[in-house]
């Protein structure tokens, strides 16, 4: 007898099929067996194997395209297991993990290690990206074909920009032979070396070493040219300023295979949030001006920005409780990705389906995954979202092993209530409606 679960009384949102309606869904053997408007409207909501959604949003589970854990190498910061728990509480059912671990994920066997390790310890789907160059050194390309076969879903040098244009050109050309997705980071290494924040009046007053936003845009423009030449599928992992957005909009208008993402903190915070040297606000790329932040929101609304990510980067006290210039970059973000994104819905910047698309079907399509949709036959990775539920971010309650959230004490509206992977409920907030 196969296991069957019915979701009734749901507000179904499926960005891929533009479904946005009241209805129901049925799961069989971990897959979506059927979904549709008006389904199970008259079913007994208290029957076993029936989940009453109470009119809450039922969406494909979120896919977070930019997650760092500490495994392998820095397990005190985060393991795949602790990241998994944080992700599920944030409504995320698939995390794409970065290769900048210790050792760097630049060997097929290491890709295999991540996948196997995750299978044993994590309930969330963990899909690794592999390094684009060996040891992330920006010199020699990795075995893109073998790594892809081993299960690497994309190729990236993490938060390093490949400064050698010849190396990048060849890596892009070679990657395009395998139709591999390359995820780039845009920050000119020379302009940004040793800097901690965005160049602005406030940075000057704090006396902090700063880099201008054009350090990003210059690389964006350079990489667009190389994509034009090589035809590689290229995704800017996270952009943060208006000029970069404009450059990408232009490239897209020319039909180049370019996409881009933005992190939740660049949608919600600006350069002034650094406050009195608050190191949890030290991220890469740095928080920009309010005008740049607004442009990121506009970019999501207009669709130029394809993906919203957490850029989850857990850092422990030893790396964050330092003078600002010495502190590590990075913000924990798995549990605040959805709430930040829902903020755009609440303030009227974009509709819910449009926002969820950037965390479900679009990343799935970019990475060639079968999840991220409410479709017959798709994996039953689902999240039940109460879009109105208010809460305050309390770092101590975060499931991540590291508590470096930049949103401490911030009030949000909207949270994941239940998360399902393969039809199984793996997170239940359990709070009464």
């Amino acid at each position: 007898m196969s296991k069957r679960t019915i979701f009734c009384n749901a507000h179904l949102i499926d960005p891929a099929s533009k479904l946005d309606t009241k209805g129901g869904l049925v799961v069989e053997d971990g897959k979506i067996a059927d979904v549709g408007a008006g389904m199970f409207a008259d079913i007994d909501r208290n029957a076993p194997d029936v989940i009453d959604c109470h009119g809450l949003v039922l969406s494909p589970g979120l896919i977070d395209m930019r997650v760092s854990t500490g495994e392998p190498g820095s397990e005190h910061r985060e393991t795949l297991e602790s990241a998994s728990r944080a992700a599920l509480a944030g409504g995320i059912t698939t995390i794409i993990v970065m290769p900048n671990t210790d050792p760097v994920i630049d060997e097929p066997s290491l890709v295999d290690f991540i996948r196997r390790r995750a299978e044993v310890t994590a309930k969330v789907h963990v899909l690794p990206m592999a390094a684009l160059t060996r040891h992330l050194a920006g010199e020699v390309m990795t075995e893109i074909g073998l790594l892809k076969e081993a299960g690497a879903v994309a190729f990236t040098d993490g938060d390093r920009t490949i400064s050698n244009t010849r190396v990048l050109r060849r890596a892009l050309s070679y990657a395009s032979s395998f139709d591999a997705l390359v995820v780039g980071h845009a920050e000119d290494p020379n302009l940004t070396e040793g800097t901690a924040v965005n160049e602005c009046e406030y940075a000057m007053r704090l006396g902090l070493p700063a880099a201008p936003a054009l350090a990003e845009t210059m690389i964006v423009e350079r990489d667009i040219r190389l994509v034009e030449m090589t035809g590689a599928r290229y995704h800017f992992g996270q952009i943060s300023c208006r000029a970069s957005l404009e450059a990408i909009a232009k490239a897209k208008a020319h039909g180049l295979p370019i996409t881009c993402g933005v992190s939740a903190h660049h949608l919600a915070l600006n350069e002034l949030d650094v406050g009195t040297y608050y190191t949890f606000m030290k991220v890469k790329p740095p928080l920009r001006s309010e005008s740049d932040r607004l442009s990121m929101v506009e970019g999501v609304a207009s669709g130029i920005i394809d993906v919203i990510v957490s850029s989850h980067d857990p850092q422990a006290a030893d790396t964050k409780r330092q003078p600002f210039a010495q502190a590590a970059f990075g913000a924990a973000g798995l549990e605040t990705l959805l709430p930040v994104a829902l903020g755009l819905y609440h303030d009227g910047s974009a509709d819910l389906r449009h926002i969820l698309k950037r965390m479900t079907s679009t990343p799935a399509k970019l990475l060639g995954l079968d999840c991220g949709v409410l479709k017959k036959g798709a994996p039953a990775d689902l999240v039940l979202i109460d879009t109105d539920r208010p809460f305050v971010v309390e770092p101590d309650l975060l499931r991540s092993r590291s508590k470096n959230t930049p949103f401490k004490g911030r009030l949000f509206q909207g949270q994941a209530m239940k998360t399902f992977v393969g039809g199984e409920c793996v997170f239940d907030r359990g709070a009464p409606r």
Partner: protein, 320 residues
């Protein structure tokens, strides 16, 4: 050291000029005047900080500032301990906060801190329950330097209102420049900044100051010329191409000084790079150079600051 003395500072720390009011600055300068007189007397010692422990915690080497604070503390009767980075466990991997909490457990009354990173002193101040004095943090602030500069200017009979002060050199990296910009601005002086664009912050005009790349132009009408020290490692191509080119365009010599107002005075926080930012002929001219007076005022102003913080402690104020 009795509560009969009126309090001077709102805060129990001195972290920067930015947090001070005009009234607080004026009271500190007034108090320092008394300590100038004391410093010139035969018996230079008073007992206002008797029994108090003052720790000099310097993560960045400094001879002048450290000895100035040490002398100030001793003349006020405090027990002064010097801790420099080489003898501390910071080099063994201990974090700044660990060091701070360790020292804090020894129950000092005042901690004087210099650190190479902006914001490090205020971070430390949040972790201890004693008074903290910023003796220079990164490129952020150096409040006692700006206060001693102000005292030096005031004692020369100059009023801040309408005074034109030209600050010349490496503004980008200078905490002295930042503290002086804030202080002089608060007191009503007009500030000009002079230097090559590579040594100016990108948003420098947001300070509400005039900026010049041409020194002769910038010095016209200046009553005070403050020279900044140029770090040697910044002179070999990274920010300016060479010391000789720097001296040619931004080094203060008699010829350039002639463009300033008659009777203009020259200041320098020290130590001076002679032949780089300042010509010896100017630096050693006692008619125009205030550098030695600045050093003397340094001890007096630091006595005033320590006394002011000590009064807060005596009044039983909470560390805020």
């Amino acid at each position: 050291m009795s509560t009969a003395y009126p309090p001077i500072l709102q805060s129990s720390h001195l972290l920067g000029i930015q947090g001070l009011s005009v009234g607080e600055i004026t009271k500190l300068l007034d108090l320092a005047e008394e300590y100038v007189a004391l410093g010139r007397a035969k018996d230079k010692k008073v007992a206002v900080l008797k029994g108090r422990t003052v720790i000099n915690l310097f993560f960045e080497p400094s001879t002048r500032t450290q000895s100035s604070f040490e002398l100030a503390g001793k003349r006020l009767g405090a027990d002064v301990m010097n801790m420099s980075v080489k003898t501390s466990s910071v080099t063994k991997g201990e974090t700044l906060i660990d060091t701070a909490t360790t020292l804090n457990a020894m129950r000092p009354d005042i901690l004087i801190v210099r650190h190479q990173n902006s914001g490090a002193v205020s971070m430390l101040a949040r972790k201890v329950n004693c008074c903290v004095v910023n003796a220079g943090d990164g490129s952020h602030e150096h409040p006692t330097q700006a206060l001693l500069d102000a005292l030096t200017i005031r004692r020369r009979g100059k009023s801040f209102q309408g005074l034109t002060v030209a600050i010349c050199g490496d503004v980008l990296h200078s905490r002295v420049a930042r503290s002086n910009i804030y202080l002089l601005g608060k007191m009503g002086a007009r500030v000009r900044l002079i230097g090559p664009k590579t040594l100016m912050p990108a948003e420098v005009t947001r300070y509400g100051v005039e900026t010049f790349t041409d020194m002769k132009e910038g010095l016209q009408g200046a009553d005070i010329v403050m020279m900044l020290r140029l770090q040697l490692e910044r002179m070999s191509g990274a920010f300016v191409p060479s010391t000789r080119e720097y001296f040619r365009y931004w080094g203060l010599d008699r010829e350039k000084l002639a463009y300033a107002n008659p009777g203009a005075l020259v200041m320098h926080p020290g130590p001076m790079n002679r032949g780089v930012e300042i010509d010896s002929a100017v630096a050693d001219d006692i008619e125009v150079s205030l550098v030695h007076e600045q050093v003397e005022m340094g001890v007096a102003i630091r006595m005033a600051v320590l006394d002011a913080l000590g009064r807060g402690l005596a009044a039983g104020g909470r560390i805020v």
